[in-house]
């Protein structure tokens, strides 16, 4: 260690000129997001698994039901084409559901405390960084799955359809990421969080229209599927894959009535907003 010139650790230095709150918020949010992407770049296994798993789903499930009886699916749709939308949504959902894990580990290892002693402009930047990261990650995954589905001959939602797919995914990811981050602060540790993720993940998949249409299900399961948030994301995307771009067209025939794409998106938006309002007091308390 060398002895330093006095200026090196000059405590009397004037406080730096105040910058605008927005630019400070952007700076801290981007720095926290950069950290998550650096982690991803050095530990890409999450991304690799996150892309590989849905591809395996797509190939295996597609093959499993390749010989499904004619007329099982509406409009004589092939099963692969039907499945594509389900796998895209499920993948984005899984990624978002795991969003709370890194935050939970930061809580447990005390890294969060390091963030909390810094004069953050708003501590929502911690949450915002996770949302940005997961959104980007699940969009990358979705595009990879869509490309594979296209290569398997399951089609591609062109133009406005693509926008509809991405917008739907965005709403779903916001809602589920919010839920997961809320859980990351509400639950005592990562064991509990993983348990919740584990219990929620597959049942939500099977009790949705990802793998089979409501018309194929027993009544009780049909009701569950028609209330499942995943279904509200799957059906507009499926319609986009079928070449249907009208927001007012009916995409979901539920036991309680028929819903248009716009109505499905409305439900997702309401869900995202509701969850945000629900976890906000919790975040305020934990990050106060």
């Amino acid at each position: 260690m060398t002895s330093a010139a006095p200026s090196l650790i000059n405590a009397a230095a004037a406080t730096p000129p105040q910058r605008s709150a927005t630019s400070e918020l952007v700076q801290e949010t981007l720095a926290l997001t950069r950290r998550l992407f650096l982690q991803l770049a050095r530990r890409p296994s999450t991304l690799v698994a996150g892309v590989l798993q849905p591809l395996i789903w797509l190939v295996l499930f597609g093959a499993l039901f390749a010989n499904a009886p004619e007329g099982l699916l509406p409009d004589g749709m092939s099963y692969g084409r039907f499945l594509g939308a389900g796998v895209i949504v499920f993948t984005a959902f899984s990624a978002a559901l795991n969003a709370g894990l890194p935050v939970m580990f930061d809580r447990e290892f005390g890294f969060l405390n390091r963030l909390l002693v810094a004069p953050l402009r708003s501590r929502s930047s911690i949450v915002l960084a996770s949302v940005l990261y997961i959104t980007a990650l699940s969009l990358v995954q979705s595009v990879a799955i869509m490309a594979t589905a296209w290569a398997l001959g399951y089609g591609w939602p062109g133009g406005a359809g693509l926008l509809l797919v991405l917008f739907t995914l965005l709403l779903l990811v916001f809602a589920v990421t919010g839920l997961s981050l809320g859980l990351a602060f509400a639950l005592p540790g990562h064991i509990e969080l993983i348990a919740v993720i584990f219990v929620a993940n597959l049942p939500l998949l099977f009790a949705s229209t990802a793998l089979a249409p409501i018309s194929f299900m027993p009544t009780w399961l049909g009701w569950l599927a028609a209330l499942n948030p995943l279904t509200f994301a799957i059906e507009p995307i499926r319609a986009a894959y079928a070449g249907q771009f009208s927001l007012s067209a009916v995409v979901l025939v539920a036991p309680y009535g028929e819903l248009s794409a716009a109505a499905c998106l409305g439900v997702l938006a309401a869900l995202a907003l509701g969850l945000f309002l629900l976890i906000r007091p919790l975040l305020d308390r934990k990050l106060a």
Binding site: P6, N10, A11, T15, R34, R114
Partner: protein, 343 residues
């Protein structure tokens, strides 16, 4: 009396509720003068970490007032965070990032401008001798390297006040000396440094002011030399034989207690029935030797020393720091403490 840079007034903190509540701070008062290197000394569990976490705005006290650099920590915690650097006891790093990337993150969280941030990081790498390993992943760092990195991140935003929680615990001598040197340098340049420690020698060697804290209260405060001088007298440890027994020790104790100029004669059972006593001046020791010779008692060892901080501690609490450490060692719950620090 001028206000200190750090002012804790009548601060109380309880963890938990009802019957199971643990009182960590019980009306703590602390005033740290500007530009001092201040030591907070106390056994584990005395409330040191809680006090520092309150200063770092990680914890809110149940009652009392907290001011740092003139800013009220409860009214304006962000204002305190801007002015204070905090080096926690348990260094939490993101193992997969390099030290430089962690410092960059920290700089952005303190809203340093890019150029200023990178220049400042370069300065601290130089100052703390981190150049050889700063671009390696922090998961590979030794304890000393991690502590230096943490010190650097505490200093990044040029805080007026630096608070360190047991900064040298478990460190090798070289790293400890390096950190001591930086802390002294900081003090010399006007930064107020507050560190907690349960090492007497550390506080004695470093601090120009100290407070002894036990049971969540400050029980003595001042300059180390003042506190030691205020005790008066010299400490004497006497052994009549290498291994004495209790009746003999009690006999000697009685004899010593009759000598003028001798105070506080204690039989130390833990150390082979040696006797600890305080003598008012050097002449008393000669007197003692004569008395012992007259009583036909041998002297195996007789050591005399000026009062130490341990004696200050003993005087204030009625036990040595080591005894206090041992007393709390079994009664702490690391799991509960980890939960307290979790948000």
């Amino acid at each position: 009396m001028p206000e200190g840079v750090i002012e804790l007034q009548n601060v109380s903190k309880r963890y938990g509720k009802g019957d199971r509540a643990v009182v960590a701070l019980d009306g703590l008062n602390l005033s740290v003068p500007a530009g001092s290197l201040f030591g907070l000394l106390g056994p584990n569990g005395a409330g040191k970490t809680t006090s520092l976490r309150i200063l770092a705005t990680l914890l809110a006290p149940c009652s009392g007032s907290v001011r740092v650099a003139g800013v009220d920590a409860l009214q304006d915690p962000r204002g305190v965070r801007e002015r204070l650097g905090y080096v926690a006891q348990e260094v939490a790093l993101d193992k997969i990032l390099s030290g430089r990337e962690l410092l960059q993150l920290q700089g952005d969280l303190y809203h340093l401008k890019r150029a200023d941030r990178d220049q400042r990081i370069a300065e601290l790498i130089e100052l703390l001798g981190m150049g050889d390993w700063i671009d390696r992943r922090s998961g590979t760092y030794s304890g000393g390297m991690r502590r230096r990195l943490d010190l650097a991140s505490g200093l990044l935003h040029r805080p007026q006040v630096l608070v360190l929680d047991e900064p040298t615990v478990g460190l090798d001598i070289e790293s400890r000396a390096a950190i001591w040197q930086v802390l002294r340098q900081l003090r010399d340049q006007g930064t107020t440094v507050l560190l907690s420690s349960h090492y007497l020698e550390e506080v004695d060697a470093l601090a120009d002011q100290l407070a002894i804290i036990e049971g969540g209260r400050v029980i003595a405060a001042g300059q180390p030399s003042q506190l030691k001088a205020a005790l008066g007298g010299d400490r004497v440890t006497l052994r009549v034989r290498e291994f004495s027994d209790e009746p003999e020790a009690l006999q000697v104790q009685e004899l010593l207690q009759r000598c003028p100029g001798v105070r506080q004669v204690v039989v130390n059972r833990a150390q082979g029935y040696s006797l600890n006593l305080v003598v008012e001046h050097d002449g008393v020791v000669e007197q003692l030797r004569r008395q012992l010779a007259e009583a036909q008692l041998p002297v195996f060892a007789l050591a005399q020393s000026r009062p130490s901080l341990d004696d200050v501690y003993l005087q204030a609490t009625g036990r040595t720091l080591m005894d206090a450490e041992l007393a709390v060692a079994g009664s702490r719950d690391p799991k509960a403490e980890r939960k307290q620090s979790m948000r």
